[in-house]
Symmetry: D2
Subunit: 364 residues, 4 copies
């Protein structure tokens, strides 16, 4: 059966932590998803030749390149995957779109709303994806299904936190993620972008928001923490908080939803679990149910292992690719795409303006 | 309305930790339960005059006494409550029964099965109670209700642990609870007796068992730990374990039940919660539900506070008294009584014989 | 020893749920705390004669009264305890102060900041207390001790939620708590006042805040939910959220603190536990520790039961009285008093103004 | 750098669930571990031609074969991996050893102790491995490290459960795992073998045990559940329980250890976490610590993702291979090998004999 598959050559720009995660996903997607493509890890591109070679060797990239423009001009490349610092997302994406490639891009999509809009315009008509990988956490996909089935009813409250402690560690706080010129923002683009995308995905659009940001280290260029209050168009209200100073938390990406018919609660640190409270049960049997989202009848459970056998962080990237290539084969659109990321960028822009102006900002 | 209540004078033998717990229950039962009796804390009896006076003063006992025989002979006493070391249970209970008193006794009822049987015979016809207080934990009462309604189906497994670390602390290990002549046994009578009573209460009789005991401190007279495998008459199988050497556990009294239709899990350290897994739900909605057993529609929730407002250890004693005096007023039997405690004592006797003989012992 | 105790006669205005809780505390404080007073439950006052009589009988109040002014004028009363609807707090407290009584008052202290200030002025020089009972949850008292010892270091984040679902239940939403004229506000006075007091108690003063309120039921007079962002004077930032529409939550009163040296997490639904993350441990041994705050060496553990034996909601009221009367005997001030409650009321006032003006409000 | 790696051709016998898990590990080991070998997935062998082809295609096996003997006779194969039903383990392993292959075998190693001993003898001198994959759960490896460092002190109690509900589902209960002729036993070989291996790994040898087995479905050939009490040579006592009738549990593989200095607790359903209670802390700071074993300084954390980013079931197989090939390159022995599996088989044999004879069986 392999011979009937179309080969797609992938070029990846970036070779850090997230580059390894993407490499893994390119290798693994065909093992877990039945897609009519064979992905070939053609070339990985980066600036540090030594690290690049080691990475290419470990992760099975056929070749390496230090100039991303050279990569994009290669006619043998069908897919350009952007895993480089934020400042490079726009130039690479625009060039890749110009060259007619399939474009995959890490979040946050851009350094500004204007950049994001230009990028979305550029990839219009080309298959594209933004790595808001958490949508493919099985528990989150199942939460969305429950919401869409009406199992939580009318939403009253949406509560989101994304808590890291990475900012307090001087050793980890010196990279590009802490430089405004390369990252654009701090916790906002890095963490809050994920939270906002999930908020939209699970609870719809935000009407207006009121934000604040804070930088605990005086000389630091970017925000260490960002928080906002929100009104959603569905009538619910919400809080969002993202921080790199949340000591005690490694990757505590959470949401809670209270609706007229039930509650949902999720924490990425226990990503195979979803808490569900069914308020339509008999009162004395109402309780927070710990659902293990590993099957049966859970999203992606037929792709991975047996019920009770958990998956990890990397599988959210694999599932993202699985769905992306499935959609590609069926000539369907895929989400989250650049347009979805523009919505997130618009919200982040509103967050920034609100924090500066110390006032509510409308998103309508 | 108070004037219509009948006054019952209580004499309590013993004034240690558990004596304080009983005192509290005598004071509080009328606040939380509508019973037609007014309990008067008439006399408390103990050997240490100084401690006894302090205790009487703090807990509102009208008088004190150092000779328990003198207490029992008093005609103004209607209720004798035995909160003394195990070795005294039988002589006091027999005397109190002889004097026609209502007899309440701490667990384990006796030092031996023979003693227990004699005591049960003696109190025959008299209202009596054994302080297996855990039956009145609201979560346990609710677990029993779910089992009786068939919500867990046919039981497959019963798993019980009662884990303390008190035995490893030399400061706490010198009291009467560690002397064979006063306590009869160690973890067995102190902890396992509770577990066995709950096992019978929730899962019925045991057919046969295979036990072992262990004493970690060579010079110690009583068992530090006891474990047994069991076959229940309902066809299920079980494990029981009680220990005073379970470092990390203060009062971890747990049970788990797996049945054809569901699972129940309880831990006394979170006594207001009961975990319930409903295996009749749709497969993708099956999960362990954390029920907060504080109402509505939970046992004793109308007696204590509002839903979400938890109760503590002492309330199990109050509820025991509430039910006891309710039954007394209605001229009904009450459980757990001395007969129930004889069943527990029979099981403990089998445990001891099994541990010594290293063989299965039948309980039929 | 009892004879040496001074008798203090208590009058309580109000006989609902919280009146039962106070009654219990008056009865129990002497059992658990060594105080040189004997509290006598002299008279309970309320408007519904039938319910009042039943309450007095059940909880051992010597007499009843339907006119609170008559109660206050009685010379045989030393303590006036206000457990009536919010609108009555000020008139009763002012009259009681005028009469020179010891005044205890439920939260929120007043209907407005002005009222609160007048009340605080009136009780100046008289022993007084506001029932912010959660300060005496042993786990919260221990959290404060850890903070004060520097175990959490410089605070970065303070996160508070107080989540109820009571507002969604029409049967429970018709009482005085939902009427502006009697309650003043909704979730704000009822729930958020507790959260703000704890915030001050644990993390110090707030510099400025930005709030929003929301009422989900159009015809309802008071706020169903209230949220705010805050800057504390210690340099940390925080979020507060209180709601009666948090389906799935009965009494989820929580806080989380992230500091440079550690994290603390508390949830009233598991009030005997405190989560502590010590960031000064070796990296591979850092984890969220579940401390069972039942002793040894925990606040109030010598007052109640043995380690591992949990207490409940009511004990926070008992401990409040225990500390209050201890301070009274030592001629010391007690907190939280009316002045502390004025600070809370000032914050609530700022919350209201911020929500209306949709802008940041300074608390300096 | 890739060119310097030695290619090893792998043949895998079996293509079911566990075959997919092994295939994944062969592909992935080189991505996460720095080993001087390139594994080539040469041939997969199975009886069902259609399923075999699909599996080979999906998982990238170069060829297929339906006769395992033909596979073993191929000179181009260096590694034979046995993922076939238990009854085939011995014949395949013996043939593969005879052919001088590196032999990897699923657990339980054999149908009987005699078979296991013959197999261990046959592979003597050849690199070999038994897939007791749970040893490589990072949390379990870290538990072992803590034990070996003395952080738990002298062990008092070891408690193990391995709970499944698969046996209650008729749809899942018809395969070879439920036939005595193909599986040898039920829960015993399938689940308990893992538990016993972990028990030995973490707590050392067992001196004697007392077991019982039970089959809930009368016509079923194998045990649905097995339990035993044990004495370890280190002076501790333990309980083991494995069941396929534990409704509510998908893969609840747990252990708890109480020692003089601390407690450890693990549950495979939350495999990235290890609970640790340090009894040497100040009493008021002692609590069960939830360690997230994803780094820093945790086993395998440098191989997989960043701290806070969890891994899943499959990674335990990858880490097993990583260590195996690392040891191979260093010409060191590897554990668990066939000899380790013989020890497990000896214990299972004792369990069977004890259950039949209803008596204690010595393992010395």
């Amino acid at each position: 059966m392999t011979e009937r598959k179309q080969t797609l050559n992938v070029a990846m720009i970036g070779h850090g932590f997230i580059g390894r995660v993407h490499s893994n996903a390119f290798h693994q997607v065909g093992h877990f998803f039945d897609i009519p493509y064979k992905l070939h890890l053609k070339v990985v591109c980066g600036r540090d030749r030594t690290k690049l070679d080691a990475m290419a060797s470990q992760w099975g990239w056929e070749g390496t390149e230090t100039d991303w423009r050279a990569v994009i001009s290669r006619p043998d490349i069908q897919i350009v995957d952007i895993a480089a610092p934020n400042v490079l997302h726009a130039p690479i994406a625009l060039a890749a779109a110009q060259a007619g490639k399939i474009v995959l891009c890490e979040k946050p999509l851009a350094m500004s709303l204007e950049e994001a809009e230009a990028m979305a315009k550029a990839v219009d008509g080309l298959p594209n994806l933004v790595w808001f990988n958490y949508r493919r956490v099985p528990a989150i996909a199942f939460a969305r299904a429950l919401i869409n089935e009406g199992r939580t009813g009318q939403t009253f409250h949406y509560r989101s936190t994304y808590l890291h402690q990475s900012g307090t560690d001087p050793a980890r706080a010196s990279g590009w993620r802490f430089k405004r010129s390369e990252a654009g923002s701090g916790a906002m683009g890095d963490l809050l972008s994920h939270s906002v995308d999930l908020g939209f995905h699970l609870n719809g659009a935000i009407t207006e928001l009121m934000a604040m940001t804070h930088t605990f280290v005086p000389e630091r260029e970017v925000d260490d923490a960002v928080m906002f209050l929100a009104r959603f168009t569905n009538g619910s209200i919400g809080t969002f908080e993202a921080s790199r100073f949340a000591v005690g938390c490694r990757n505590r990406n959470t949401f809670e939803i209270h609706g007229s018919r039930g509650m949902l609660r999720f924490n990425m640190e226990n990503m195979n679990q979803l808490e569900f409270y069914d308020a339509t049960e008999a009162p004395n049997l109402q309780g927070t149910r710990n659902l293990m989202i590993t099957g049966p009848d859970h999203p992606y459970s037929s792709n991975f292992w047996k019920p009770g056998h958990i998956i990890g962080y990397e599988h959210t990237f694999i599932a993202t690719l699985g769905d992306f290539f499935g959609a590609l084969a069926r000539h369907e659109g895929f989400h989250p795409d650049f347009e979805d990321a523009v919505l997130v960028q618009r919200a982040l822009s509103a967050v920034e303006r609100s924090a500066v102006s110390r006032s509510w900002v409308s998103l309508k």
